[in-house]
Subunit: 212 residues, 2 copies
DNA sequence: CCTACCGATCGGTAGG
DNA sequence: CCTACCGATCGGTAGG
């Protein structure tokens, strides 16, 4: 049953995945034809079908390789920081540097939602969930006191910060200019939002306004 | 130049839009055929083309009528509240009740991003932007002191809260159970995140943990 | 991995 | 002469 993969065959497979990836990002799944993919990777249609049993299996292969959620979590978990403040900012920076800020960064997720009704999230969940848990643990392990927020909600809101930043970038950034301090400002708002009052750092994010 | 629209014709047009909307939500744009749409609304293909010059114009008509961003903003702007706390929670509640919590709530936006490369956002922006500005003004007009956050960033993060909540709902809610206090917890985190320390309300969102 | 095709269906339009 | 639509079919392309 073990499939013997020749170097040449594996190379073709990778080229198909790469070609499909760039086409899916640009046009979505249904608007991308097998002919588009085969032309871009230099194979014939028949050649493509020696590596994949169907069009959807090409998409799942692309998803395995390029899913932004799978790509970004390990990079984020390498973040360093002695305080929660430093840790969250480093996580955010790694998130953006790991994904880039192109408009199509999240497109594979959108394709999955719109063109597959989220069918493949079932497979994705067990891969992403442990990484998300580890991220939450990194956060709650810090010394600064976090407000009483149910752990699932804390995790979900932390995860949501990712979408908040990227979605508003996709929709707003072509019309409104945002400089590169915006990400840090987003993180500051979240940080202030989850910390107990007495543990809010004073060195960051603007001076307090004392006139009530 | 003024087009005279008969009741019957306008009715057919609305039925096409409605049929297309439900099909686009389920399968996306390219996977939905004119035939699918015409069958669902009870017209022939030719009949559909008396109302629209092409398939894409059906999509833009659907977008005008059902765009979640356009639908939700006016509902949110009716929010009431004497404090920022009360105002934001009412805004959030109206947001969810105005859109519902189906998995496909944001699908029109995703279709736009993935299948049209965001082309139609250009037309959407002038419609949504003033409403977003008004929302920000409602927030900053309150008495409670908001931290020194650049106004565009405040607006973007407020807008982002919307995506944070819905995207994480789409991805997580089928696997993890979240009760209906989650939305309020999200708003609380944001509220704590933008308020000055001395103006943080103490009656809401968990008691302070005083042991440092 | 290619050439040569299949059943079916695509978006769009003809005359009436 | 208008609108709203019909049955039939156009040239091309889809996944396989």
């Amino acid at each position: 049953m073990a499939r013997h993969i020749t170097p040449k065959g594996e190379n073709s497979r990778q080229q198909i995945i790469q070609a499909a990836y760039s086409l899916f990002l640009k046009k979505g799944y249904h608007a991308t034809s097998i002919r588009d993919i085969s032309e871009r990777c230099g194979l014939t249609i028949g050649g493509v079908y020696t590596h994949f049993p169907g069009k959807e299996s090409i998409f799942t292969a692309v998803l395995d390789e390029y899913n932004p959620l799978l790509k970004v979590m390990p990079v984020m978990l390498e973040a360093q920081g002695d305080t929660l403040d430093a840790l969250l900012h480093d996580m955010a920076r790694r998130m953006v540097s790991g994904l880039g800020l192109q408009r199509d960064t999240l497109n594979l997720i959108f394709i999955e939602v719109v063109e597959f009704e989220g069918r493949h999230f079932e497979d994705l969940f067990p891969k992403v969930f442990p990484l998300l848990i580890e991220g939450i643990e990194r956060i709650t392990r810090q010394e600064q006191a976090i407000r009483q927020i149910p752990l699932p909600v804390l995790g979900r809101s932390f995860f949501g910060l990712f979408f908040s930043y990227f979605m508003t970038h996709i929709i707003l950034a072509r019309k409104l200019p945002f400089d590169d301090t915006t990400l840090d400002a987003f993180v500051d708002i979240y940080l202030y939002g989850i910390l107990e009052r007495q543990d809010i750092p004073s060195g960051n994010g603007g001076s307090p306004d004392m006139n009530g």
